[in-house]
């Protein structure tokens, strides 16, 4: 088979595509928004002591706790929105190759501890060279395999009910945690603010604000952990499978169809978000890491329509 020019691995030097996770820029905006609003509110009573439900503390401690709770809750919600609620524009595509690896959702301790961060099930496919244009067009980054040919990889995500269940549960839990955390943060920060710090009053103030924010944020995360685990347990779903029900594994020859987009969570690589149809064609006799030459030579007939790159 005659292959087209092989895409360059790594950064494509493009300036048009996203190459960082959308969560990061959202956090930066949240800091600006919440920081401005809460500081403006604080201007109206900057030296006052505010009391709510019998808890008294300087206004600055209250706004720090509220800011910590709000920002953390918004981050949890943002993960859920980006993972499960948003419907970004995608390009309908079809490709085929050999599965290099299967990355399950909740594959690490971090995903269990912070369930809202878990990513959907993913397969990494070393694609036939006829599909390299799908890997390269519109990409800020090209993922490649560790074989001698550094063969390009196309990632495919399978929407996971467990990930979305955990995201919804985490968001609800984080909301509860935000309310509780605000009061606990104020209690902790207020205790520091009330200390007689003498010439180090500025240090006590900074610490009071910091502790109020951190305590509130930790309470939100604890709520997200509890809610996320409940949501995950309540959801059904299994590992990624082909349309005939076969569970996918390394060395499977597959054809995948779905929507392609440039993913900030994958350094700006093109990925399927999500794979909607998977055809299993058999298994490779070679060993991982696979080269594109394997499916080029052994998967002559895939399930995609004929493409003219």
């Amino acid at each position: 088979m005659t292959c087209p020019r092989q895409p360059t691995c790594g950064s494509q030097g493009t300036t048009s595509s996203s190459s960082t996770s959308g969560v990061l820029s959202d956090i930066a905006w949240l800091l600006g928004l919440v920081g401005t609003v809460t500081t403006v509110v604080g201007l109206f009573g900057k030296t006052a002591v505010f009391t709510l439900l019998g808890i008294s503390a300087p206004v600055v401690v209250w706004i720090a706790a509220v800011a910590g709770a709000l920002i953390t809750f918004a981050v949890v919600l943002d993960f859920y929105r980006l993972r499960c609620l948003s419907h970004p524009d995608t390009l309908a595509a079809c490709s085929a190759g050999v599965v290099e690896r299967v990355v399950p959702s909740f594959g690490s301790a971090t995903d269990e501890l912070f369930p809202f961060t878990a990513m959907h099930d993913r397969i990494d496919v070393v694609v036939k060279c006829v599909y390299w244009f799908l890997v390269e067009n519109g990409a800020a980054f090209v993922q490649c395999n560790s074989d001698a040919d550094t063969s390009p990889i196309l990632r495919g995500y399978y929407k996971s009910a467990k990930v979305c269940g955990a995201g919804l549960g985490s968001t609800i839990g984080a909301g509860v945690g935000a309310v509780v955390g605000t009061f606990l943060g104020v209690l902790a920060g207020g205790a520091i603010a009330s200390l007689a710090c003498g010439p180090f009053a500025w240090l006590c103030l900074i610490l009071a604000v910091l502790v109020a924010l951190i305590v509130a944020a930790v309470c939100v995360l604890i709520g997200a952990l509890a809610g996320g685990q409940i949501g995950k347990a309540a959801a059904s779903g299994g590992p990624p499978a082909a349309d005939d029900g076969s569970v996918l594994s390394t060395s499977d020859y597959v054809t995948t169809k779905g929507g392609l987009l440039t993913s900030g969570d994958d350094d700006g690589a093109r990925v399927y978000w999500f794979v909607t149809m998977t055809t299993l064609h058999g298994h490779s006799a070679a060993a991982s890491p696979f080269s594109h030459r394997d499916p080029d030579d052994n998967l002559l007939m895939d399930a995609c329509p004929v493409v003219i790159p």
């Binding site: 691995c9 790594g10 950064s11 300036t15 595509s17 996203s18 190459s19 960082t20 996770s21 959308g22 969560v23 990061l24 820029s25 956090i27 930066a28 800091l31 600006g32 919440v34 920081g35 401005t36 809460t38 500081t39 403006v40 604080g42 201007l43 900057k46 030296t47 300087p58 206004v59 600055v60 706004i63 720090a64 800011a67 981050v75 993960f79 690490s108 971090t110 912070f114 961060t117 990513m119 800020a140 980054f141 090209v142 993922q143 490649c144 395999n145 560790s146 550094t150 009053a201 500025w202 103030l205 900074i206 604000v209 910091l210 924010l213 951190i214 900030g264 969570d265 350094d267």
Partner: protein, 130 residues
């Protein structure tokens, strides 16, 4: 699209600096509501404290939640400290609490983008960023 939003989408260094600077600016802005201006020496000390806390926050988000791993540990420490110190020193001089968070976002973005350009981003043959 605003240039600052574009760079946050394209550069991990720039958005890391923005988060560190924004975090430090927001907290320092709260403290400024009640505390008159600090001496430059005290402002640097507060910047270091807030920079370290911002670094822990960034590590949690980038290394753990977004799975960037250990590669971001030391670069983000340098970015966080420089962004936070610069933010607190400038915000202390400007002395307008409402502006502090935006001073942090702006200076953090500049510090991050500059460090990224100075140090360069390394990519191994498989296309994995290190």
């Amino acid at each position: 699209m605003l240039p600052i939003l574009t760079i946050w989408h394209r550069s991990l260094c720039a958005v890391t600096g923005a988060i560190a600077g924004g975090f430090a600016g927001m907290l320092f802005g709260f403290a400024q509501l009640q505390q008159p201006a600090l001496t430059p020496t005290d402002a640097v000390k507060v910047g270091i404290l807030l920079g370290l806390v911002a670094w822990v926050f960034i590590l949690m988000v980038e290394a753990l939640w977004l799975h960037y791993g250990a590669a971001v540990v030391w670069p983000s420490l340098v970015t966080s400290l420089l962004s936070a110190i610069l933010t607190v020193v400038v915000a202390n001089a400007v002395a307008v609490p409402v502006l502090s968070v935006w001073i942090g976002l702006l200076f953090g973005t500049l510090v991050g983008a500059l460090l990224c350009r100075l140090c360069g981003e390394r990519v191994d043959p498989r296309g994995v960023r290190t």
